[in-house]
Amino acid sequence: MSVAPQERGKGAPQERGKRAPQERGKVVPQGRTLLPVVVHAPRGVGHLRGDESFPDAARGALADTQLRRNLGHATATIRDKRAKVVGEVDDWEALRTAGKAIKDHTMARLPELLTQLEANVTAAGGVVHWARDATEANQIVTRLVAETGSREVVKVKSMATQEIALNEALADAGIEAFETDLAELIVQLGDDKPSHILVPAIHKNRAEIRELFARTLPGVDPELTDDPAALAGAARQHLRERFLTAKVGISGANFAVADTGTLSVVESEGNGRMCLTLPETLITVMGIEKLVPTWQDLEVFLQLLPRSSTGERMNPYTSLWTGVHEGDGPQSFHLVLLDNGRTAVLADEAGRETLNCIRCSACLNVCPVYERAGGHAYGSVYPGPIGAILSPQLTGIEDNASLPYASTLCGACYEVCPVKIDIPSILVHLRAEHVEAQRETRRVPTAEAISMAAASWTMADASRWEKAQTASRAGRLLGRRRDKDAGRIRSLPGPLAAWTAARDAPRPPAETFRQWWARDRGADT
């Protein structure tokens, strides 16, 4: 059986496909409409979908004053650090431009570059696996770990393995995964969820972390203080033995170099080096978009990433390895290449550049919405502005419909993005796609569609517009209740309540601009 037709077949149950936009309506000679199926990340596995919509989830976060203080302090600190080290690089804009061009170039040549990477990793003694989705990736990794006979693995922080919920899959197979990044450890010990790409425990302050360590770390010094150095020391002590005895390490990858077969992990603590160097077997799970064409291209990203991410000129440790190195490090190396919805992102020309993301998290740190709502409100492991465009594209807009609206479109995210992803434009594009999807699925027009049609009718005629403006003054009755709400309407009546469920409406002015003009300047004209 040929693979491609099966892929296009309508009957494949796990493929809730839709047509790629540029292919819509294209007719093949047989008179059939060609339907290249766009396959999203499947439901029921992984951490790309929240339990509730962004506005509902954000409401709880906004009420948590401790959380808002923690986030405000942390994001302000990192913003300042980033601005300082980016400011000392004279050619920063040229580096951003090159970073974007290299990633755009990579996406256009992806099939060729992936097979080149595969050939080079294989030639260097590694084994390459391909995973269509989270379920398949989890199965591959679980099987590989089981084959080593080990019942535990040490992990270096990886967004890809968080995305596919690898730890849960391993646990189901009786394999225990130990997160070794300090923030990931904090999340794991607290049975919590990550809330930031770089610092998954950004929502916790030092006092909360001290309390967690005192409660959960076996044999911890009861005198442990909340000094960050002491807390880091406690983590070192806790994980040391684990590192020295681990047989299997699992990592993600920051970059893969197609023309050399080199993999790279960029980190700070040394837990990455431990996981990449000491075990006998190393398994790396990597999204298919994380590669760069040439060795030279690393000179761009090794400048862009640390300064954008931790606000350092260079992170403490960057490891680069190519297959298996005789007498040094793991003698068995597996690379798992993961799709899980990435090809669906690639299929949309307007959203494609989302795949250029190098996971620095600079866009989270500058986002006024992220700073207030925190990472958990986004539901997905990818929070903040990049998550608001990446998650809905990976899952399909219907599963993360509220995320493209979780933004004020202020544009700060675009300003700091090291690969110049135009996040605001993609947010608008996804909002349009959502509206389009709603129209296709509903017979009855939405309240929004009805009000837009009504507004269009009203605004098309000057006298109708004037009457409507006069009538709107009645709205002043709604906004006069309490002094602290002066000028704002917190809740509109009837169907309009949907608008004010997540925002305030301005109280209409006492007179309209046209009325003021007629009164003040009317005599002159």
Binding site: M1, V3, A20, Q22, E23, P36, V38, V39, A74, T77, K81, D91, A94, A98, A101, H105, M107, A108, P111, H129, W130, D181, V199, A201, P228, A229, A232, R236, R240, L244, T245, T260, S268, G270, N271, R273, T277, L278, W295, Q296, E299, Q303, E312, R313, M314, N315, P316, Y317, T318, S319, L320, W321, T322, H325, G327, D328, G329, T343, A344, L346
Partner: protein, 217 residues
């Protein structure tokens, strides 16, 4: 393709087909313009000065010495550290170790040493491959005078020796000097974390103390 094709090949072909479908028949491949700085505008002495300043900035301790004084400098540093058991890679220059105190145990790394054996070392001395001044970075490539990666990872104190001709100014100058077929480790200061309130703290899993000796002649 037949039904006997292993799952790996079906997954591989499916993903590649999805990508080709997504890109369409003739995707535009943009040119990459490299208008960023690839060379250096600094004099060699200034490059070394910048390197020392930036390494120091990340709380590594910088020392400068001539070739003739290197064994004495090294001996003084090791003595001051209080370490009794010091590891060195098999290819480290013997001449560097001639002035070490007699009661110091110097262990030459061997492939048979497992991780537990490496954990008994209190300090490690290595050479290096490249230094990057702009970022305060040292690169090790596991050559015989630098040793396998675990040797510079497990001991808690690393003394790293670099010569001035190994130091370049910028990241783009460093990469062509590196061999991607070797395991590479870029080190910028001692192990650190910013995971608690995004404040940088030195000293987590990697060596908590890093000394860099610049050999100036």
């Amino acid at each position: 393709m037949t039904a006997a094709v292993p799952g790996r090949d079906i997954a591989r072909e499916t993903v590649l087909t999805r990508i080709r479908d997504a890109l369409g028949p003739d995707p535009v491949v943009p040119e990459v313009s490299r208008d960023y700085v690839t060379g250096s505008d600094l004099e060699p002495d200034a490059v070394v000065e910048r390197f020392a300043e930036r390494v120091d900035d990340y709380r590594a301790t910088v020392h400068r010495t001539g070739h003739a004084e290197l064994p004495a400098t090294l001996a003084a540093l090791i003595t001051a550290s209080g370490a009794g058991r010091v590891g060195v890679p098999v290819g480290l220059d013997y001449a560097w170790l001639t002035e070490l105190p007699d009661d110091l145990e110097v262990v030459r790394d061997q492939p048979t040493y497992d991780t537990a054996a490496l954990d008994t070392l209190e300090l490690v001395v290595t050479a290096s491959t490249v230094g990057i001044a702009e970022t305060g970075t040292i690169v090790l490539d596991a050559s015989p005078d630098q040793g396998r990666r675990a040797l510079t990872l497990v001991p808690d104190h690393h003394i790293c020796i670099i010569t001035t001709d190994q130091i370049v100014h910028t990241v783009p100058e460093a990469l062509p000097r590196l061999d991607p077929t070797r395991p590479l480790t870029m080190i910028s200061g001692p192990s650190a974390t910013s995971d608690i309130e995004l404040d940088r703290v030195e000293g987590v899993h990697g060596p908590r103390t890093l000394h860099v000796i610049i050999v100036t002649d």
